[in-house]
């Protein structure tokens, strides 16, 4: 073996990996960003999460890995949920000073209600354990039971039960957050 051949093989491998990553990115980006958006309710922040998730994936894994999509979905849900948890802590500190998002809206009453419901959802999701929260988010983002199962690492047969429990837990958490 000579160095030229080795270099050529390295270049080819890099190029092939980069091509695979580009194909993976373009095939899955919408879904990965959609999952984050489902949690965050903020398209721009969801895109930040999606890009962060893809960069993390590229850093650590081959784009040709069979588990690529499942990894990305799970990472998107977890990263977005972690952001909400961080945001919750921040919001608690800043609550008194920060103006509500609805403050600049054209229909303050309606937008304020929608924002309040979103806030309650995010808070409730953030309080759920990671796995049920991820199951809820992934399923509501349109993933099949099989896809959700692969992403969270359980059998497909368990998803129905996990989902029911997660829905029940979410409802309890949302009600806990609701004004009396």
């Amino acid at each position: 073996m000579n160095l030229e051949a080795a270099s050529e093989r390295s270049r080819h491998a890099l190029s092939s990996e980069q091509d695979s990553f580009e194909a993976l990115f373009k095939a899955e980006y919408n879904r990965v960003a959609g999952i984050a958006n489902r949690v965050l309710g903020d398209a721009q922040e969801a895109e930040d999460v999606a890009q962060e998730v893809f960069i993390d994936f590229h850093r650590l894994h081959s784009a040709k890995a069979q588990y690529a999509a499942a990894w990305l979905y799970r990472a998107s849900a977890h990263t977005a949920l972690n952001r909400v948890r961080g945001r919750r802590r921040r919001e608690k500190r800043e609550h008194a000073a920060a103006p509500d998002e609805a403050g600049q809206a054209l229909d303050p009453q309606r937008i304020a209600e929608a924002n309040e419901e979103r806030r309650r959802l995010r808070t409730a999701l953030a309080r759920l354990p990671q796995k049920p929260a991820a199951v809820l988010v992934l399923r509501s983002s349109g993933l099949s039971y099989a896809e959700v199962a692969e992403a969270v690492g359980v059998s497909t047969g368990q998803i129905g039960t996990l989902l029911r429990r997660a829905e029940s837990a979410l409802r309890k958490e949302v009600n806990r957050e609701s004004p009396e």
């Binding site: 073996m1 000579n2 160095l3 030229e4 270099s7 390295s10 270049r11 491998a13 890099l14 190029s15 990996e17 980069q18 990553f21 580009e22 990115f25 373009k26 980006y29 919408n30 960003a33 959609g34 958006n37 489902r38 309710g41 398209a43 969801a46 895109e47 999606a50 890009q51 893809f54 960069i55 590229h58 850093r59 650590l60 894994h61 081959s62 040709k64 890995a65 069979q66 588990y67 419901e117 309650r120 959802l121 409730a124 809820l136 988010v137 509501s140 039971y145 129905g160 989902l163 029911r164 997660a166 829905e167 029940s168 979410l170 409802r171 949302v174």
Partner: protein, 352 residues
């Protein structure tokens, strides 16, 4: 009944029709599901994957965890990276080879700061002669510890008690000894330089046609973590691990016709070697016994540490997300992973 109503049998339906408890449970489950669906419903958002891909690939790559992060490589940076390994080998040779048949036998490690500019401007040293493996490195991945020890000829390092975050799954990799030769060719070097419109300094007398022989390994590597791999022959399928512990016989270099001073002077004068890099390599002091460890400036930090009673180089990136330590005590040892530097040092010191 809820997930797949079509799968419900007639008997189950009959039971459901007459069981108040099941009906209540179903009603509650339906209400929970409806609520969750309503809460999680969002207006459809559209994302532009092409634009996002462009943003991601054009953004400056993040600071890499040393040795564990693969930054997205832009086309222009690939060639220098591809030749980096060889360039480092030659940098070692340049600082280590001495008179005819002088053996390079490093007994200590020292960091050499390397900038991105250094990497991008490195000359393609494969054009300076002919490189060939007389014994190619042939890694064997996923062998048993006993097999790895048999091939390596030494015991697998025992990492002792590890932090709870590190998986106890260990994959053994063994690389038998490999031997490579590099034969200098003045004509080839000048022709390659001329093709790029450059002129090289003349090779010192006796260098043209002389051969360097590099012997590396055997090496035994323990990879801690849950490896996912498509096949044992495709390294790109491996998920990078939490911890790597490696031990290797120190590399040995022999030279047939050029002194260390001539070689070092010649290679460090090549176009593309920055004065700073040349100065840093020259500053090593005892090149015959020193293994230079390239440290990417701005991406990783290095510090001198005492490991197992000898001097070692600790590497860590600026985010604290990963760390490594390299030292020589008879053999060359490496411990690195996505752990704190203190944890890496503890593991390194308890290695048996």
């Amino acid at each position: 009944m809820f997930d797949d109503p079509n799968a419900v049998t007639g008997t189950e339906r009959e039971h459901f029709a007459s069981c108040g408890e099941c009906q209540d449970r179903h009603a509650k489950t339906s209400a929970d599901a409806t609520d969750a669906t309503r809460l999680l419903a969002l207006p459809a958002a559209t994302f532009d994957a092409d634009a996002a891909y462009k943003r991601v690939t054009e953004a400056p790559s993040q600071a890499p965890r040393f040795g564990f992060r693969l930054p997205i490589l832009r086309q222009s940076s690939r060639r220098p990276i591809a030749v980096l390994a060889f360039a480092v080998v030659l940098a070692v040779i340049a600082t280590a080879s001495a008179n005819v048949a002088q053996i390079f036998a490093p007994t200590q490690v020292k960091p050499v700061p390397v900038t991105v500019a250094d990497l991008q401007s490195l000359p393609d040293l494969s054009t300076y002669g002919t490189f060939a493996w007389s014994k190619e490195p042939q890694p064997q991945i996923g062998v048993t510890a006993a097999n790895a020890e048999q091939v390596a000829g030494f015991s697998a390092p025992n990492a002792g008690t590890l932090p709870s975050t590190v998986s106890t799954n260990v994959t053994y990799v063994v690389v038998p000894q490999a031997v490579a030769t590099f034969t200098f060719s003045a004509a080839k070097a000048q022709a390659a330089a001329a093709a790029q419109g450059k002129t090289l300094p003349p090779m010192p007398a006796g260098m043209d046609g002389s051969t360097l022989t590099l012997t590396v390994g055997p090496a035994l590597i323990e990879v801690f973590g849950d490896l996912k791999q498509g096949s044992t022959s495709d390294v790109s399928q491996l998920e990078l691990p939490q911890l790597i512990v490696a031990e290797s016989k120190a590399p040995v270099v022999t030279s047939t016709g050029v002194s260390v001073t001539e070689l070092e002077d010649y290679l460090l004068k090549q176009p593309g070697i920055t004065p700073q890099l040349a100065a840093d390599i020259k500053a090593i002091g005892d090149p015959t016994h020193t293994l230079p460890i390239p440290v990417p400036v701005g991406y990783a930090t290095s510090s001198d540490v005492t490991v197992q009673g000898v001097q070692g180089v600790a590497l860590g990136d600026n985010t604290g997300a990963g760390a490594a330590v390299v030292w020589i005590k008879g053999n060359v040892f490496f411990v690195g992973g996505s752990l704190k530097q203190s944890e890496i040092l503890t593991i390194a010191n308890q290695l048996r």
